[in-house]
C-alpha cells in the first residue's frame, strides 16, 4: 500500500522550480528519475544546494542521504556555485601528452585557481575534464561552451580574458 503524501513545496517561488517539476512529473516521480532531475536543477540554477536536494528528495520519495550520495558521486554535479565563466581543460591522454599540464599551470599562475576551483569573485571556474573527445586537436579546452584546439597557454589566457572582458 502506498501512502499519498502531500506534494512538497518548492524552496521558494522561483519560476524555474516549475520546470524541475515538469521533469519529475514526466517520469511519474519515479526514483530512477533522480539523476535526470539533478541534471535539470543544475542546468537551471548552476549548482545543487541543500534546499534543492531536499526538495528533489521529498518529491521523489527518497531519503536526502540518497540524493546527497548521488550528487556527490558524479563529477558533473556541483554543490557550490560556479563562476560566471567556465574554462574546461581536457586532461585526457592525448592532451596530456601534448601539454595540458602547461595550460593548468598557466591558469594557476594567472588566476590562482586549480582545476575544480572558482575564483573568489565568482568570475571564473576551472574544470578538469577526463576527455572531451577532441583528441585530434590536443591540447584542447572549452571556454564558455566553445571548444578551442591546438592551444598554447597564451592563447587560452587571452581567450579567457576576452570572455570576461566582453561580459563586463
Amino acid at each position: 500500500m502506498t501512502l499519498q503524501l502531500a506534494k512538497p513545496a518548492p524552496p521558494d517561488d522561483d519560476k524555474r522550480w516549475k520546470m524541475v517539476e515538469v521533469t519529475m512529473r514526466r517520469s511519474g516521480y519515479a526514483s530512477h528519475a533522480l539523476i535526470e532531475t539533478l541534471h535539470r536543477v543544475q542546468g537551471l540554477f548552476g549548482y545543487l544546494d541543500e534546499p534543492a536536494m531536499n526538495f528533489v528528495a521529498e518529491s521523489l520519495g527518497l531519503p536526502l542521504s540518497k540524493v546527497y550520495g548521488v550528487a556527490t558521486f558524479y563529477h558533473l554535479f556541483s554543490l557550490k556555485p560556479q563562476g560566471k565563466h567556465t574554462c574546461v581543460i581536457c586532461t585526457g591522454t592525448a592532451c596530456y601528452i601534448k601539454g595540458a599540464r602547461e595550460l593548468v599551470d598557466g591558469l594557476r599562475q594567472k588566476y590562482g585557481i586549480e582545476l575544480g576551483q572558482t575564483t573568489p569573485d565568482l568570475e571564473l571556474s576551472a574544470v578538469g575534464a577526463r576527455c572531451i573527445g577532441a583528441c585530434g586537436l590536443a591540447p584542447a579546452a572549452v571556454v564558455d561552451g566553445e571548444v578551442l584546439g591546438n592551444l598554447t597557454v597564451d592563447q587560452l589566457l587571452a581567450r579567457i580574458e576576452k570572455v570576461i572582458h566582453d561580459a563586463t
Partner: protein, 557 residues
C-alpha cells in the same frame, strides 16, 4: 511498412537529391567544429543560397581531424574533391570553382593511404549523410535491415546471422555478441531490456561520439534489431553528458524514427513494439562497467556489483538485459542487410569485421579511422597515421586507455585483434590509440593513468580504492626520483593484488599500464631509481646500476 514501400521511399528520396549538380559537404563533427567549421558552413550556404544546383550539407566526421575544417565537393560525373583547413575567407573561391577546376591550394589528397587503406562499415555513412535527416539515412539503405527482419525473418534467424558473423563486443571486452544475444533470448518471458553503452570514458577515445554524432540512426536500427531478436520491448541509450551534440542528434533521431514508424508501437504494422529512452551520464568513468551503468540508469550511484548474475540473467530492475557498446550495435544493420557470412569474411580467424580507432597523440594524421581486424599496428601508425611528426622518434603506442598498455617498436608488426594484443600485454580496448614519442616518460604515463584510476575508483571494494592510491603514491615517488628498488618490487606486488582481487574491470585492469610499461620499458623505471642520490650518502648511482631488475624479481617471487 513493407520492404517494397521502403525501397520506393528510398528511390524517391534519391531522386529528389538528383537535382543538385554540386554537393558541398562540410564536416560538422566536434573536431572540425572547434576549428571553425560552423562559420565555413554558414559562409558556403550564404554564397550558394540562390543557386538551385548547389546544395550545402553539414555532415558527420570525415576522419582526418588534423586537417579540419574539411569540405568535400561532389560534382555530378566527377570524382569527389576534398579540401582541408578551409576558412571563411576561402568560401568564395570554393563556390567559384564549382563546375571548373578545383582549388589546388586547399586540396587534400584523397588518394593518400589515410583514406585508401581504410575499410568502412560502421563509418560508411559518416561524413556522407546529414545525420539530422532521417531521409538521407533511408536513401543510404538505412532501416532496410530492420524492415526486412521484422517483416520477413524470425527472431531466431536474426540471432543466427549475428552468430554467424562472429561479431565480438566492441566496447573492449570482446565477448561474442551472438552468444550474449542468445543467452538473453533464452531467458523466460516477461520484460527484457536492451541497453546501449555510450559511456565512452577512456581518455583518448572518441569513436562512439563520432558514430552517435555522424550516424545516430544506425545505432537506433541496431538496437531495434536486437530488441526483435531477444524479445525486448524497451531500450535505453546511456550517453555521457559531456557529449551534448550526440545527445541532441540522438534525441532528434529517435523522434524522427518514431514518426516514420521504425520505433514505437507495432513497428511496420507487426506485433513487435520497441521504444528507446536516452539516459545521461554525469561524469563517472566507472559507469562504463555494465553493472555500474545499470545502477546509474536506475538513478543510483554508479557502483558495480559482483557478477554473476550477469545482466543477461538479472539486469535492469532485475530483468534480463542485453548490454552492448555503440559500435557493436552500429555493426548490426549491415550484418543483417548483407548477411553474417559476408561480415565473417573480413578480419582474422577469431576477430571478425572492422574496428574503429581514434588516432591521437604524436602522430601526423590524427583522426578517426576504421580498419579491418588483423591489420598491423605499423600499418595503422605509419601508413595510415603518417608516422610521428618531424623531429620526433616513435617510442610507444598506447591502446585500451587506462585499462590497456603501451607497446614499443618491436610489437608494431603484430596483427590487431583481441587475442594477440592481450598476449602482448595490452588490450584492444574500445579503440583509443595514442602514439608517444621520446618526450614522453613511460613512468610519467603510468602515473598519469594510475591517477586517473585512483580518481575514478568508485570506492566500493578495498583493493581498488586503497590499491590505486598506494600504487599512485609509489609511482609518484619513483617518478620524482625518490624511489628505491624495494618500492619497485612493492609496486609489482601491489599490481598483482589489485588485478586479482578487485571487484570490477576498473580495478582489475588498473595495473595494466604499469605492468606493460614495466615489461617493455623497465629501464626507464630503473633509470629513475638511479637518478636519486641518497640523502644519507648511500652508494652512488654507478654502483647500483646493474642490480635492480634482478633484485626486484627475487623480492616478488
Amino acid at each position: 511498412m513493407q520492404l517494397e514501400e521502403l525501397s520506393e521511399l528510398a528511390a524517391e528520396i534519391q531522386e529528389s537529391q538528383q537535382h543538385c549538380d554540386h554537393c558541398v559537404r562540410v564536416c560538422m563533427a566536434a573536431g572540425c567544429q572547434s576549428s571553425g567549421a560552423k562559420v565555413v558552413f554558414d559562409a558556403l550556404s550564404e554564397k550558394t543560397a540562390e543557386s538551385e544546383h548547389v546544395c550545402v550539407k553539414g555532415v558527420g566526421c570525415m576522419g582526418l581531424c588534423a586537417a579540419g575544417p574539411l569540405v568535400e565537393v561532389t560534382s555530378r560525373g566527377q570524382a569527389p574533391v576534398m579540401y582541408q583547413q578551409v576558412t571563411e575567407a576561402d568560401a568564395q573561391e570554393v563556390v567559384d570553382s564549382l563546375g571548373g577546376a578545383p582549388v589546388e591550394r586547399l586540396r587534400c589528397p584523397s588518394d593518400m593511404p589515410f583514406f585508401t587503406s581504410q575499410h568502412k562499415i560502421v563509418l560508411e555513412n559518416s561524413g556522407v549523410i546529414d545525420p539530422e535527416q532521417i531521409k538521407e539515412y533511408i536513401a543510404a539503405d538505412g532501416y532496410r535491415a530492420l524492415v526486412h527482419a521484422v517483416t520477413e525473418m524470425t527472431p531466431a534467424e536474426v540471432l543466427r546471422e549475428v552468430d554467424v558473423s562472429g561479431l565480438r563486443g566492441r566496447g573492449g571486452g570482446g565477448y561474442p555478441a551472438g552468444l550474449k544475444w542468445s543467452t538473453v533470448s533464452k531467458m523466460p518471458g516477461g520484460d527484457k531490456f536492451v541497453v546501449c553503452n555510450g559511456d565512452e570514458g577512456d581518455p583518448g577515445a572518441f569513436m562512439d561520439r563520432a558514430v552517435l554524432e555522424s550516424d545516430p540512426h544506425r545505432v537506433i536500427e541496431g538496437m531495434v534489431l536486437a530488441g526483435y531478436a531477444v524479445g525486448a520491448a524497451h531500450g535505453f541509450i546511456y550517453v555521457r553528458a559531456e557529449y551534448p551534440l550526440a545527445v541532441e542528434r540522438l534525441t532528434k533521431a529517435i523522434r524522427d524514427a518514431t514518426k516514420q514508424g521504425f520505433l514505437g508501437q507495432n513497428i511496420c504494422e507487426t506485433r513487435f513494439s520497441f521504444d528507446i529512452e536516452i539516459r545521461l551520464g554525469a561524469g563517472a568513468f566507472v559507469c562504463g562497467e555494465e553493472t555500474a551503468l545499470m545502477a546509474s540508469i536506475e538513478g543510483r550511484r554508479g557502483q558495480p556489483r559482483p557478477r554473476p548474475p550477469y545482466p543477461a540473467q538479472s539486469g535492469l530492475w532485475g530483468y534480463s538485459t542485453l548490454i552492448n557498446n555503440v559500435e557493436t550495435f552500429a555493426n548490426i544493420p549491415p550484418i543483417i542487410r548483407r548477411g553474417g557470412a559476408w561480415f565473417a569474411s573480413i578480419g582474422t580467424e577469431k576477430s571478425k569485421g572492422t574496428k574503429v580507432f581514434a588516432l591521437a597523440g604524436r602522430i601526423r594524421n590524427t583522426g578517426l579511422i576504421e580498419v579491418p581486424m588483423g591489420i598491423t599496428l605499423r600499418d595503422i601508425v605509419f601508413t595510415i597515421g603518417g608516422g610521428v611528426p618531424e623531429g620526433s622518434q616513435f617510442k610507444a603506442v598506447q591502446t585500451g586507455g587506462p585499462s590497456g598498455g603501451c607497446l614499443p617498436e618491436e610489437f608494431l608488426d603484430l596483427p590487431v585483434d583481441y587475442d594477440t594484443l592481450r598476449q602482448a600485454g595490452s588490450i584492444m580496448g574500445s579503440g583509443g590509440m595514442i602514439v608517444m614519442d621520446q618526450t614522453s616518460s613511460m613512468v610519467d604515463v603510468a602515473r598519469y593513468f594510475m591517477e586517473f584510476c585512483m580518481d575514478e575508483s568508485c570506492g566500493k571494494c578495498v583493493p581498488c580504492r586503497a590499491g590505486t592510491h598506494q600504487m599512485h603514491a609509489l609511482l609518484d615517488k619513483i617518478a620524482q626520483g625518490h624511489g628505491s628498488v624495494k618500492d619497485l618490487a612493492l609496486l609489482e606486488e601491489l599490481c598483482e593484488v589489485v588485478r586479482a582481487m578487485s571487484l570490477c574491470g576498473l580495478g582489475q585492469t588498473a595495473p595494466n599500464p604499469v605492468l606493460s610499461t614495466l615489461q617493455h620499458f623497465r629501464m626507464e623505471y630503473v633509470a629513475k631509481l638511479q637518478e636519486h642520490a641518497l640523502p644519507d650518502g648511500g652508494p652512488p648511482a654507478s654502483e647500483r646500476s646493474a642490480t635492480p631488475p634482478a633484485e626486484s624479481q627475487e623480492t616478488t617471487s
